[in-house]
């Protein structure tokens, strides 16, 4: 107990240090510089990353003729709302946008939830157990990651047709729910962050294997769950080739395919595409906020553990 109090005191000293209140007595300029130095790259990076995103928003509120002015448009005109509405109407007249948006959301949600479960399970299996054939199985799994996807599109189509899954959402999300990428990521993370003693202790206490995983380990790996969740959701969202060949009618298209269908050889309706893209961002931001809460929640737990 004494040790704990000591470390709590140490923690307090350290946090004071980083907040600079101790340093304030020693070198205020140095502390300021340190904070600025840390913020600066982040700010520069933010500007670099935000620019194309902002450009997207600007283009969604311009008429076709205004998009290709030179120099390119960087600000919203006073009539941007009118143009946005025009582009929006154009978008809706060409594709069943909200239906397509829902398709993307549904597939991405199913894909993410199922993947989180199966991949964390698989990663846990590889990380916390030693079993015959473990290394070979893991290596095979990694090898499968390296197989290029493009040529597989024809047999994938044939397979889905044989299953009777053409034009269904199932064909898109089911094949990937236990994927090597996720299992690899989970294994690396679990190996690095969960001590085997924790698992052993739970076993001694009589817990079943699955409940050890689900009740003890899973809550502890929320940071990687959050990150993986975001990546899987975005990956599913941006998946293009699969839905292109599997979805056979306008109503089942996902957003990338649907928005791309507005591209003729030269006559691309950029305004409508950008409106679609901008609106599609909202569900993504929502998912991101949700997943972020998972990542943040671990932080506080970690401090308590410390």
């Amino acid at each position: 107990m004494a040790v704990q109090t000591d470390s709590k005191a140490q923690a307090r000293i350290l946090s004071l240090e980083t907040k600079g209140s101790l340093k304030r007595r020693t070198n205020p300029i140095k502390a300021m510089l340190k904070i600025m130095l840390l913020y600066l790259p982040l700010i520069i990076w933010t500007l670099i990353t935000i620019y194309p995103f902002w450009y997207m928003i600007v283009v969604s509120a311009k008429s076709q003729a205004q998009i290709f002015t030179f120099p390119p448009p960087m600000s919203l005109d006073s009539d941007f709302f009118v143009q946005f509405t025009n582009n929006y109407r154009s978008l809706l007249s060409k594709i069943p946008f909200w239906q397509n948006l829902w398709n993307s959301i549904y597939i991405a949600c199913m894909s993410t939830l199922l993947s989180i479960f199966f991949c964390s399970l698989g990663g846990y299996g590889f990380a916390m157990y030693n079993f015959r054939g473990k290394n070979i199985m893991f290596s095979i799994m990694i090898f499968t990651l390296m197989i290029p996807q493009l040529i597989g599109i024809i047999p994938y189509f044939l397979l889905m047709k044989a299953f009777g899954w053409l034009n269904t959402a199932r064909a898109i999300y089911i094949p990937g729910i236990a994927n090597a990428f996720g299992i690899f990521l989970m294994k690396q993370y679990i190996e690095a962050s969960i001590p085997i003693d924790l698992v052993d202790a739970a076993r001694v206490d009589g817990a079943g294997e699955f409940s050890i995983f689900w009740k003890i380990v899973f809550p502890l790996i929320t940071p990687v769950i959050g990150s993986f969740g975001i990546m899987t959701f975005l990956g599913s969202w941006n998946n293009f080739l699969g839905p292109l060949v599997i979805m056979r009618s306008r109503e089942t298209y996902t957003i990338p395919v649907a928005l791309n269908s507005l591209r003729g050889l030269q006559n691309v309706d950029y305004g409508a595409i950008m409106v679609g893209t901008v609106i599609s961002v909202f569900p993504l931001v929502l998912v991101f906020i949700l997943m972020s809460k998972l990542i943040i929640s671990k932080m506080t737990e970690g401090a308590l553990k410390g």
Partner: protein
């Protein structure tokens, strides 16, 4: 306490423990068996045939054995794509990971509120439309009116740039033609740094704080903490991120297409922007050489495997 001490109870408990890992990792192998064996087999058989896709594949008539592989390895365009891919992989990999680790490190430092905002910023490249990205990067590198050329021209007026000065370039430069690799690499770095940063950030989160505290008490400074504690503990994540980078970079398709892509994957500028993945795509969908394309995909597979093995030697945790 395990109360089931009877001989049957121990057997059941041990059996459960031994069987569990197989059950846990089974979903992957089951789904692989169902969904991937046929495509792998199909593409392998395809690579042994000469097929233009315009009529059903006739295994007997079109069989050419390993000719496709030989022809690919003899094709100078394949080797050019190979060189392009490797060069761009190296140019992007290093900044991606250093910057990614750097940003993850900063974010891990402790200013809570903005953390979520900056993490969002890291993900922005994935929710930005490729079309918008393409437009912006083409404006940046445009010739003669792009932003970079504009900056260069201004510097020339100030006398800082131009022949015989600090920056020996004359505007306007066709950046995409002259510096193809850098142009595409810059887009890839822009796109993937955030991804790596998120992975490293998760990894940093896994390192318990008391390790840092203990080090500080022992009087270690920043550098020592970083190199002796943080990096070694990050090794598993670094191995993961670098492996994924290798797999991704060798199959790089979207980013070069944005910069140099033309009608049906035929580069409008030069073949300096053709990557292995574009070469594969062009063979299949532009030039109707499916057998060759399948052979290329298997050759690419072996390249990835080879590079990954080397990568593992470098980053694998040595207990």
């Amino acid at each position: 306490m395990n109360t089931k001490v009877t001989s049957e109870g121990i057997n059941w408990g041990t059996f459960r423990r031994k069987a569990t890992p197989y059950v846990f990792v089974a979903p992957f192998f089951i789904s692989f068996l169902i969904f991937s064996t046929f495509p792998i087999f199909y593409s392998f058989v395809l690579s042994l045939n000469s097929w233009d896709g315009s009529r059903p594949l006739n295994y007997v008539e079109n069989f050419v054995g390993l000719n496709n592989y030989v022809n690919v390895l003899k094709d100078p365009l394949f080797w050019q794509s190979f060189v392009n891919t490797v060069a761009m992989a190296i140019i992007t990999a290093i900044p991606q990971h250093f910057l990614g680790l750097f940003f993850a490190f900063i974010l891990n430092q402790g200013f809570v509120k903005l953390k979520e905002f900056f993490k969002g910023v890291l993900f922005l490249p994935y929710i930005t439309s490729s079309i918008a990205i393409g437009l912006v990067f083409n404006v940046l590198y445009g010739n003669p009116y792009g932003l970079l050329n504009y900056a260069l021209a201004s510097l020339e007026k100030l006398g800082i740039a131009g022949p015989g000065t600090l920056i020996p370039l004359t505007s306007p430069i066709n950046w995409i033609r002259e510096f193809t690799w850098v142009a595409i690499a810059s887009l890839a770095i822009w796109r993937w740094t955030g991804w790596n940063a998120i992975i490293y950030f998760a990894g940093l989160q896994a390192i318990p704080d008391n390790l840092y505290e203990a080090a500080r008490i022992d009087g270690a400074n920043w550098a020592q903490v970083f190199f002796k504690i943080t990096l070694p503990l990050l090794r598993p994540m670094i191995l993961f991120a670098t492996t994924m980078t290798i797999i991704g970079q060798v199959q790089l398709f979207d980013d070069p297409m944005v910069i140099v892509g033309g009608v049906g994957a035929m580069p409008t500028v030069s073949n300096r922007g053709m990557t292995l993945a574009i070469y594969l795509y062009a063979n299949a969908f532009s030039w109707a050489r499916f057998g060759i394309a399948a052979a290329v995909s298997w050759i690419v597979f072996f390249i990835i495997v080879f590079l990954s093995i080397i990568n593992r030697r470098v980053f694998q945790k040595k207990d």
